[in-house]
């Protein structure tokens, strides 16, 4: 709870409680004082193009900027780099050696576009996207009630997967998440994930947290900074924050009880469900005396009030309509910005969920065109991915700027860390399969079943490497326990051996020539062939160590422990 709420609070400058030095610092950093005359929706959005953009159009817009800023774009990625990048971006998995080699050998000039289409149509894309958005939505979850927390992750992922598979639009998905009903049960950890977004928060501060996450996830706006005082660096007023919160003012949660086992037995709680509060309105606290509160009616950020609605569901339906309305620029732009950020490493707004009328952006006109295109296709998710990935901008080689925090201004891809799921898949693909042992640790409430496997290596690994996908990529840091896991973990190392029924043993048997074997090890781990220098060094290593098996174990270990292994480049 502390970690996720801390991330929210960490973005809020302590304007009112800071010493005078703090207030000066705020003024220096945000010279544009919040201006009530700045429109919430850019005026040009009304007349934005109603046709989908083409990749060439986006590239042209960017080219003008690069020329004006006198920047040179990085060269195009090689086929070998492209195939690894695209597989990771769309399926979250490194391509197999066979997949990689087949792509490189293919002589079709359209092969890149075809590969993008093929992967977009795959189930793996839906699954990958579902995991990503599950993390985006639950990274800031504040409810740690075990009955909610255990099923929430898998249920939300499953629901999102089904929506993406059914090719639902982002508009529909967003509306469904905001108007969800029902609940989550420990014993049914994949059912009714539609409530997963709302169930990220529960009880005491749920309304406030739900409003904050609605703005952050669907509009890219960090409105929670305006909870206690007017937002220090954007136009949001405190009143607006609380009026947005009022949309959730009648939503509460109730426990779901299991059937009593026998006579006189206490009923066990097996889950929680959303429930409507029949009476009472959301009350916002007075700024100076938190004990005084005022009832607040819901009003959207644009100032629009919903039609008078008495039920909680009607209210949330109205909110969903406002959020996903075609005239709401931020709805379209937030998704487009995040996709651009996911695919190139850096969004036009950084962090990707810190947008708004007064926030700084790189090339906002390009984002504008992407957002218009997204709207014109009725928020077709695959369409947007197809558009971005067929640009020259997406297909540039990767590099970091002079300072890790520098924005590359779309001249190159920024290398980013793989998510915990992606990294585990890379490990499993290079070293797997792992022998299924009994899961260690007690099963969670609800007995065995889906919980037993949860405490094994895969679970531990994912917990260790997990991070919030919305933070800036240069702020994702490694830790000593992560290094220790890859360096020393007994189970992982057992799979790196050159003897027994391991991937390495098979490679060494199938490829008695060292060069071929080295190549295969590289393809299995990094999805590419070694460079001439790397090949020389590996050959040298085999000679130095003297024993082929041991030398190759070292090489495999080095590749799994390399920076590149964890990086999407």
């Amino acid at each position: 709870m502390y970690r996720t709420a801390f991330l929210l609070a960490g973005l809020c400058l302590a304007w009112l409680v800071a010493a005078p030095a703090g207030a000066d610092e705020a003024k220096k950093r945000y010279p544009k004082a919040p201006d009530a005359n700045v429109p919430i929706i850019p005026a040009a959005w009304k007349d934005a193009p109603k046709s989908p953009a083409t990749p060439a159009e986006i590239d042209r817009l960017l080219e003008q900027h690069l020329k004006a800023d006198k920047l040179t774009a990085s060269p195009r990625v090689t086929d070998e780099q492209f195939v690894r990048r695209v597989y990771l971006d769309l399926t979250g998995k490194v391509p197999t050696a066979a997949q990689s080699e087949a792509f490189v050998k293919d002589s079709d000039p359209q092969k890149r576009a075809r590969l993008i289409d093929a992967l977009l149509a795959s189930e793996a894309f839906s699954r990958h996207l579902a995991k990503h958005w599950r993390d985006v939505m639950l990274s800031r979850a504040t409810s740690s009630l075990v009955f909610i927390r255990f099923p929430r992750q898998s249920a939300l992922e499953q629901w999102l997967f089904e929506q993406f598979q059914a090719k639902k639009s982002w508009g529909e998905i967003s509306r469904d998440l905001l108007t969800a009903e029902g609940g989550l049960k420990l014993t049914e950890p994949t059912k009714n994930g539609q409530v997963g977004f709302l169930m990220a928060h529960a009880q005491a501060d749920a309304a406030v947290e739900r409003a904050s996450d609605t703005a952050r996830v669907f509009l890219g706006i960090q409105i929670q900074c305006a909870q206690c005082h007017d937002h220090p660096s954007d136009i949001w007023k405190r009143q607006q924050f609380h009026e947005l919160t009022a949309f959730f003012g009648k939503l509460a949660e109730r426990p779901v009880f299991a059937e009593p086992q026998g006579q006189g037995q206490q009923r066990r709680i097996e889950g929680f469900r959303l429930a409507a509060r029949p009476f009472g309105e959301y009350r916002m606290p007075d700024r100076d005396d938190p004990k005084k509160t005022y009832a607040v009616q819901p009003r959207f950020l644009t100032g629009d009030a919903p039609p008078p609605a008495r039920t909680d569901l009607d209210r949330r339906k109205a909110l969903a309509k406002f959020v996903t309305a075609p005239d709401n620029y931020w709805f379209s732009a937030a998704f487009a910005n995040r996709v651009w950020g996911d695919l190139t490493g850096q969004g036009f707004y950084q962090p990707v969920d810190n947008m708004g009328p007064l926030q700084e952006a790189t090339y906002p006109d390009v984002l504008f065109r992407l957002a218009a295109s997204f709207r014109a296709t009725d928020y077709d998710i695959r369409g947007l991915y197809r558009l971005v990935m067929n640009t020259e901008a997406y297909q540039r080689q990767s590099r970091v700027g002079d300072s890790p925090g520098d924005h590359l201004r779309c001249t190159a891809r920024y290398p980013t860390r793989m998510s915990a799921d992606e990294l585990w898949d890379a490990v499993a693909s290079a070293l797997g399969p792992f022998p299924q042992g009994p899961g260690r640790g007690r099963p969670g409430p609800g007995g065995g079943g889906p919980f037993r496997r949860q405490f094994g290596l895969a679970f531990q690994f994912r917990q260790l490497f997990d991070f919030d996908p919305s933070i800036k990529p240069d702020e994702v840091e490694g830790s000593v326990p992560q290094a220790l896991m890859l360096m020393n973990n007994q189970q992982l190392n057992a799979r790196m051996k050159a003897t027994g029924d391991t991937p390495l043993a098979r490679v060494l048997k199938d490829h008695p020539q060292d060069d071929k074997a080295i190549e295969q090890v590289y393809l299995r781990t990094l999805g590419r062939k070694p460079t001439p220098r790397e090949m020389r060094r590996c050959r040298e290593h085999v000679k130095q160590v003297g024993k082929r098996a041991e030398a190759f174990e070292d090489i495999l270990w080095a590749l799994v422990n390399s920076t590149e292994f964890q990086t999407k480049r």
């Binding site: 800071a18 290094a483 020393n488 460079t531």
Partner: protein, 436 residues
Amino acid sequence: MPIHDLFLRMTRGQLSRRAFLRTAAAGAAGVSALGWMDAVRLQAEELRKKGLSCILLFMQGGPSQFETFDPKPGASTGGPTRAIDTAVPGVQIAEHWPEMAKQMKDVALIRSMNSREGNHPRAQFLLHTGYVPSGSVKYPSFGAHVASELGSPDFDLPHFVSISGGGGGGMPPAGSGFLGMQYAPFVVQNPTRLPLNTELPRGVDEKVLKRRLGLLDDLEKDFAEAGARPKVEDHRALYGTASQMVLSPRLKAFDVAQEKDALRERYGKNNFGQACLLARRLVETGVTFVEVLHGNWDTHQDNFERTKALSAPVDRGFAALVGDLKERGLLEKTLVVWMGEFGRTPNINGRTGRDHYPRAFSVALAGCGIKGGAVIGATTKDGRNIAERPVGVPDLFCTLCKALKINPRKETLSNAIGGRPIKIVDGGQAVKELFA
């Protein structure tokens, strides 16, 4: 050449190579920075010889001062909590702390702590760093500063360790910020077990590990040159720290099972007690800063029963720690700090709970020259306000710096745009009455 050379010989690592080059490129700023760093380096070498360390016992959630070190029996706000006498005549603490009462001659109290942060994450950050969270500056945890100032660069274990002491206590509220990964807290999830993956796997010994690390270094070169150099360097530094730890003969300091059973009993056979024991072992071995997180003290409901349950292991562990350190002659060199992010309200709410109260709360200190038995400041009879000698968070941090012989005004280049220097503590004055 000389500048570059001198820098590389600076083993403190406070300034990353990249940041230094940025400053040097700024021309005049680079030249004056040289003189400043020279002075810093000399001071650093003196400090290292002192061998001081710090153990922080952090009660997450905001422990009630009424039910710990500032009881108000008889007042309408005091609730059912009674007060007991301690080894220091005239000083009483809450009834659930009998072991600490016996230890009081070595412990000082500040009853007049106050801050303006009543929000958990912000207040935890404030009480860990001395600053409120900022979007532009990554303030380091005080532990990271202490590790950076006092940690010996030859030391092969992490300088800063954070132990989860149970009761729901979790992740450290602040990391090493702009001081970098070298001073990041190493998190121990379970004090009764060796940290995971610190044993070399079967078939791998020190020779093989070193051979592998050498190979890894070489194989990263092309990736670094292809545009990922800073990431490769960070990765290498991380692996350096991790492998050093694994190969260290001092790694067994993490194994509390090596202690006699009777001593383990004395600390209490629970996660908090064992975490305190682990903390003692770690500082004995040379770790500079150890924090033990315990929670969850956020008693908005059922305050009295819950605080009683929470106090039991902490009373025992804290007292055992101070006693054990004293018996081993380590208390003069080890600063022990007990605190939470704020206190709790004098008013008892409708759920028999107390809510957040940063206006007046308590902190306990021992060791490193702190005057045992001293009580600084006081609250009014009903505990609503500070009656005398208010102590703010910067004052507290200056006091900790004084005990550890660290200069609170020392500046370090931060990550803020332009590399703005940030002091260890901004403002505040040490509480002189705590020192002889």
